[in-house]
């Protein structure tokens, strides 16, 4: 290859910003994601109810999301500047969630008072 200035520059940057990880790691994560998905489907198949169902759904969900972000999206190897810029802002959603849980409780209450229990169901 003739090394034009452009060729030199692009190769340097590609080397500097690229990431390389053993392919085995991706296979391990892939298998883990399959197992976790099978687990969450099993929660429904076994008709688990109540706190056990909800906690298992959330645990499997968080583990899957974490594996995808950390390994498949390479966040585990990024610098803190990017990790914080991307992963901290969604924490604001906890506030939105809290506000709307209170709001929906209130709405449900007024519906019971004004419309009676079970309102909104098809006739």
């Amino acid at each position: 290859m003739t090394d034009t200035p452009h060729a030199l520059a692009t190769r340097h940057v590609a080397h500097d910003e690229g990431q390389q990880h053993p392919i085995k790691l991706y296979f391990v994560v892939w298998v883990l994601l399959f197992i976790l998905s099978a687990g969450s489907y099993w929660v429904d198949y076994a008709q688990l109810q109540g706190l056990l169902r909800w906690s298992l759904i959330l645990i499997f969900m968080v583990l899957k999301a974490g594996l995808i972000i950390a390994v498949f999206m390479h966040m585990a190897w990024e610098r803190l500047a990017l990790i914080y810029a991307i992963l901290l802002p969604p924490l604001a959603l906890i506030g939105l969630l809290a506000i709307l849980i209170i709001e929906s409780d209130y709405t449900a209450g007024t519906r019971v008072i004004e419309l009676g229990q079970g309102a909104g169901a098809p006739e």
Binding site: Q19, Q47, L96, S104
Partner: protein
């Protein structure tokens, strides 16, 4: 000047929290060791996170504020296969298809780092095929529910908000998958033709083996899978 895109020597970067403070207060660019394309994709995905989060929180609000019983997703999405009803089976298959596509995409990115042109393109085509398969199953699911009488304003089983939440959330996600499939094919074709290997700049690549478009495409695709993880948990399983 052999390093036109950076303001400083990247090998001298600080680590840990002092590195974080130095990066955010630095000149020209805050995200070191990340190209602008990758940083922009992450910021797009962050904004998309808020869009999907708004849908899911709106669904939660609708579901917890209605006095009517919420339709049982396990039964609504059951299929009659081999003489018995399998709960949620189509959704489970869709989940596995999407995870498989995330796996092939991760392999494609890995091959792209090694500049394995044909393997990268082939794996991206496989990812696109699995994505198209997912959209196909979603179309089947939509037509099944519509034929059973599910509408955005009502359904035969319970709370009226079910249809609106379902069409809004899965529709928006399906649109993302569809856009992803189209872009996967575009990038894969470019890789296949060797356009990223030439000493020529284009809107997707700086040339000379700059395969970063594959990794950026991968970020988007993994995000689509990531959103499905949350939809699966909150809409289908909850």
């Amino acid at each position: 000047m052999d390093h036109p895109l950076q303001g400083q020597d990247q090998t001298l970067l600080q680590q840990g929290h002092s590195g974080f403070a130095a990066d955010w207060s630095s000149d020209q660019r805050a995200f070191k060791k990340v190209s602008w394309g990758k940083a922009m994709m992450w910021i797009l995905l962050l904004s998309d996170t808020f869009i999907f989060a708004c849908f899911l929180v709106a669904y939660l609000t609708a579901r917890s504020s209605t006095n009517a019983e919420w339709p049982n997703a396990s039964e609504v999405f059951a299929l009659h296969i081999g003489g018995r009803d399998l709960p949620l089976i189509l959704i489970a298959i869709m989940t596995f298809v999407l995870i498989s596509s995330s796996g092939t995409m991760a392999m494609a990115v890995n091959c792209a780092y090694r500049k394995a042109r044909k393997a990268t393109a082939a794996l991206m085509f496989a990812t696109a095929a699995l994505g198209a398969c997912f959209v196909g199953m979603q179309a089947f699911e939509w037509s099944k529910l519509i034929s059973e009488g599910v509408r955005p304003w009502g359904n035969p089983w319970g709370a009226e908000q079910f249809g609106a939440s379902f069409f809004m959330i899965t529709g928006f996600h399906g649109t993302h998958v569809t856009i992803g499939v189209i872009f996967l094919i575009i990038v894969a074709l470019k890789v296949w033709r060797g356009e990223f290997d030439r000493d020529q700049r284009s809107w997707m690549s700086a040339g000379n083996g700059d395969y970063e478009a594959v990794e950026i495409m991968g970020l988007y695709w993994h995000f689509v899978d990531l959103v499905w993880v949350f939809i699966f948990a909150f809409f289908y399983l909850w």
